[in-house]
Amino acid sequence: MTLPSRWASQIAGLAGLLVAALILGWWFGGPGWWLAGAALLYVAFTLRHLYWLDRALDGHRRVPLFETRGLWAEVFARVEKLRTKARNRKKKYHRLLREVRESTGALSDGGIILNVDNEIMWFNRAASHLLGLDQATDLGHRLDNLLRYPDFVEYLKKPTGDGITVRSPRHENGWLHVQIIPYGTDQRLAIIRDVTNEKNVERTRRDFVANASHELRSPLTVISGYLEALGEAGDMPDAWRSPVAEMQRQAERMTRILRDLIELTRLESADAAASRDFVDVSGMLKPLVQEFQGRGGPSVELVLETDAALLGKESELHSIFYNLVNNAVRFTPPSGSVKVVWRAADGGAVFEVIDTGIGIAEEQIPRVTERFYRVDPGRSRASGGTGLGLAIVKHALQRHEAQLAIASREGKGSTFSCRFPRDRVVFRSDAVSAVL
């Protein structure tokens, strides 16, 4: 290893000094004293530089340069360079931090950073505005202590899906949408958005559909009434018989569509979860299936593999089962068969309707639950569908935390299965142990 030149010259200088002291000591006598004197001189020289260096570092001033060459000049220059670099870096980070802070502050969505205990670590201006948080007092408090809606507290424990909509704590008619996004090891980011306008538009739309359906129903009742009277009148010319009968059929269909529309808006505007009444499923399915048997359509078979009951809203469950069976019967030729199955699965229970009907093309499966979506418009209308059945099924199932799965092959048939979660299902064994 070779020494850098600045070190070599420093050592050479020191050696020169000591040798000179030795020669002088040998000449004048007392070489020990001369050597010690030279060493002291060197120490004093070094200390003086150290003192300057220390003072300069202490006072954040520029390190002064007293020499233009040699070890000390080099050391001072390098210290100065390091300090300039650090200063520039600090400035840069400072600017970056300010920019980040300004941009997150300008965001219209609120952001809150939570730690693993849901304590608030940081939040932006929009969050404090939307939730009424205070920068001075609320850091370190738990978010669920300040935003105490039971639904939200539940959601915060298990953040699943795409967030939750809660009432605004600051404005009586305001609504906020909160989504929790986990990141890092165990940090979480809560994004808060003001959805009051969306909610209002949604409500206006729903109210409009509901009101329009109600308003249309009364004139339709009058028309149906007169049509019925006309149809029963004995002295009607034969040429009018078939048009009147057709008008009656269409009026009936319109009534059905309106009834389904009203049902659908009711499902949409109701609270998130359906009530938990005890519903005897097998008792409900038997008469329901019987209604479809012996109508000249496909054969309908009921298979009850379990005697489990459901905790839900009776009218909605009936409408789920009825719509699914009705659909299957309508899209299955008279030579085919429909199987209705009620069975236990994975702790929960499954209601299944299996038909050998015309089936649905794969790319259309995701769309069949949209309202008024028809795979084959002509056929669907001819068989008396309203186009709302599956939309009703979907919404009613959501209110029971159940899931709808559709499997189908064109020309072979379809299977619609509704999977009800464990806590909505009551098995007879549960009932027995509850009594015991």
């Binding site: 609320d138 408090h141 669920d144 202590n145 300040l146 009432r167």
Partner: protein, 246 residues
């Protein structure tokens, strides 16, 4: 070294226990706020089903009170807390009693709302009651926020708001008497309305109590039955003491 570690461990567990029970008080508070909110909604929407649902859900509040009470007894028995910790536990025990009462009043409002839903509604759709309810809801919200933040200034605001609520109740009461004299056919409905106003006014009192416990918890001063002026003085004095300590 080992003994020290153990001691640290125990006190940390203790802190966790206290923190957990404090959090459950606040989730109970959230539940009570929700109950009150839905009871008022049942009144303004004339939704009898919602009103009855609220009445039914009161058992949830009661269940929480019992479980928090048990937890507090356990902490008192096993940890023997002192000073600030003891005040916290005492304040929690008292707070949950008041929260449970608020829950009961919400239940009452739910039942009354269900009953009022089936009779003819006044043209104002119970505007005075809804106004009173809004103020009371704000009080409960403020009281729980003060509890969460240990914010005595916020608690003081709620205590002050109680007077306005009492006045509002008085005016509804007087108004009801005139209505009943004018038209005796409305007596049943107006009596129900008065009961509801009474329940709301009581909720305001319970919210005020909770705020007094918050002041007790933070400053160690019992400020019950001493009047708003004196409470204000105590809060200021307490805040100064805290400042000088830090």
């Amino acid at each position: 070294m080992e003994v020290e570690d153990l001691g640290h461990h125990i006190s940390r567990r203790f802190n966790e226990d206290l923190e957990r029970v404090r959090n459950s008080v606040l989730s109970m508070g959230g539940l009570v706020e929700d109950q009150l909110d839905r009871a008022i909604k049942a009144l303004s929407d004339g939704d009898s089903q919602l009103g009855l649902q609220v009445a039914e859900d009161d058992v949830k509040v009661n269940r929480m009170e019992v479980s928090i009470d048990e937890e507090c007894s356990r902490i008192l028995a096993t940890r023997a807390p002192t000073a600030g910790d003891l005040r916290l536990v005492i304040a929690i025990i008292k707070t949950i009693t008041d929260l449970e009462r608020i829950g009961d009043e919400a239940e009452k409002i739910g039942v009354l709302a269900a009953r009022l839903a089936s009779v003819e509604r006044p043209s104002t759709n119970y505007r005075e009651l809804r106004n009173l309810a809004r103020h009371v809801k704000q009080m409960v919200h403020g009281a729980l926020n003060a509890f969460a933040r240990l914010d005595t200034k916020g608690a003081l605001e709620v205590v002050k708001a109680d007077n306005a609520v009492d006045e509002e109740y008085e005016s509804i009461y007087r108004q009801s008497i005139t209505f009943m004299m004018e038209d005796p056919r409305t007596i049943t409905r107006i009596l129900d309305m008065t009961w509801m106003a009474r329940a709301l006014e009581r909720i305001g009192d319970h919210a005020k109590n909770i705020c007094e416990y918050v002041i007790f918890m933070v400053h160690g001063k019992d400020v019950r039955h001493i009047g708003v002026k004196n409470i204000e003085a105590e809060v200021e004095q307490g805040a100064r003491r805290l400042e000088s300590r830090t």
